[in-house]
Symmetry: C2
Subunit: 371 residues, 2 copies
Amino acid sequence: MSHKIELTVSGRLRKSPYYNSTLRYGASSFTVYNHMLMPTAYDSPEVDYWNLVNNVTLWDVGAERQVEISGNDAYKFVEYITCRDLSSIQIGQGKYALISDENGSIVNDPIILRLEEQRFWLSIADSDVLLWTRGLASGLGWDVKIHEPDASPLAIQGPNNLPLMNDLFGDWVSDLKYFFFRQTELNGIPLIVQRSGWSKQGGFELYLLDRTRGDDLWDMVMGAGKKYDIKPATPNNIERIESGLFSWGNDMDLTNNPLELPLTKFCNIDKSADYLSRKALKRIESSGIKNKVVGLIIDGKPFSGGCESTWNAFTDDTLCGKVTSAAYSPRIKSNIAFATLKSSLGDLGTVIQVETPWGYRSATVTNIPFL
Amino acid sequence: MSHKIELTVSGRLRKSPYYNSTLRYGASSFTVYNHMLMPTAYDSPEVDYWNLVNNVTLWDVGAERQVEISGNDAYKFVEYITCRDLSSIQIGQGKYALISDENGSIVNDPIILRLEEQRFWLSIADSDVLLWTRGLASGLGWDVKIHEPDASPLAIQGPNNLPLMNDLFGDWVSDLKYFFFRQTELNGIPLIVQRSGWSKQGGFELYLLDRTRGDDLWDMVMGAGKKYDIKPATPNNIERIESGLFSWGNDMDLTNNPLELPLTKFCNIDKSADYLSRKALKRIESSGIKNKVVGLIIDGKPFSGGCESTWNAFTDDTLCGKVTSAAYSPRIKSNIAFATLKSSLGDLGTVIQVETPWGYRSATVTNIPFL
């Protein structure tokens, strides 16, 4: 159930620095993400999937915007907005974190990059974190400056990413640890290179620091990638579900809190730094979560698409939750999904019913990630 | 220059309660607005334009989301986020207001509705005001609750709106003054009816208060509208420029402040209530604005589309601003536009050059609205 509709291009929908390149390379469909056009397909989802899983691909993820936080209270502020303990984050390191408010509501799930002692970027999913952090900082009256810098990620993803990265940047990139980054340049184009990316196929993100050079950077990577048969691609719904990567706006939003997600290693709710969600999360921890985000294996024929909207989940004919993302996995050879269910149904092996666009199907709660 | 691309429908892009109805009635293109799909065209822009200007039309503007602010500090908070004096706003009244922060940056330009003494809605343009206001309230520690209610506007716009509205609701709607509203129901469907809408052709917005009833409401209005030859339509880029209606994200954003816009009647910068932008706006007032939002009449052949991105503006071969919205007006029989220019160029009659997709054109600063 994946129909496509026509999108009216207008000024309000911002263009990534790579937009013209993606059109030139045949991007066939787009989404809007952080008020910016982002390609979602070149060939079919399956062909794009195998290019990513088997080789190396180049993605325009310029819509993954950055929110820069600097000033004397920058570190204190960044600790304040997440339940993740950031006390050990080094300059040049990134960490995944859930950003949440005084109710425990999840505002976004960025990678937090520490650029200087008191300068951070939040590399965000699709909500206006810029506005939330500016509102919060204004109300608190803390000494922070918050703005959106000129930084537009381009992702190199896939198992053959490293030889290409070595050709482009040299051997040092092989030593970058996961989520670590370094500022550099490529033929005069200023960049931050980070080992990162929204897949588990390995790769890097190049944060372009001069938006006028998007096409130049794209062409340089494509040129160097020719000998590795690089293909243009996009964040891939099938692969990211297999890999257990959640999508804010799909699998979580303001109605969820961090304790509902299988991400406890990122939730240090007793951390020593002061943070906004502490009271709410302690209260939720002691009363118990009402809902739980789980993986599902769904029976029956392969799905021919994903969730255009959430699908209702039932137990004994009673609504018990919703499926938020789904795909047929060609490697697992099953339909896989993320769902938010009543927490009593969150145990491994629990069987529920899901109302899919292709009829009711049985589904079994399973571990995340699937692969 | 108005090309269309394909949009991938996914769960993250929310569906309006009228979404299925708009597809059924032949919506041919969409945009994403407040993370929600919103139709932008049925027939050609010109046909949609004449239906609006000559008769009566029905628009899915469910993407115009509401931010509800309630609690003991609700009135104080709403005064705090705008330079407009709201001291006279009555229960049942709406007012257009620019929301701005401690730098004077414009966060959004909603209609503010007063539902109760201490309960307000912000009927917003395309930015996450929910997040900004929640962040701000959290930092301030004020006694307000902020959430997005189940309220989805459907607009009836066009000169023949009133007979249709009388048929649907009775005579009392004729007495509603501009931006005033009343809660009511239509065959059991709970609604707020407001004299409002994003055109100057006259009309109402019906705020559906039960999102499961979208198709029912759509069909009721379409059924009653048959005798008036009602047509489905959308916010119309040509008409809204003619009428001087700005679009946040196009004609203004965080880089603008209220004093740059020709909206001084909505800027009471010396109002008695405390507000966040006061210091910044007083400073800007005394030092003088750097930029000014103006109307332009642009020479040459009729434009065949609007701005897909901003167009650069020049004086003496030097960049002096940008055109943010443009259209050919069939009634004025000229190309018309909004632009942000250096304030020294903002006087009526000033001539500049604009780099359009169809070449360089001369343009003359003029009054807003155009009609």
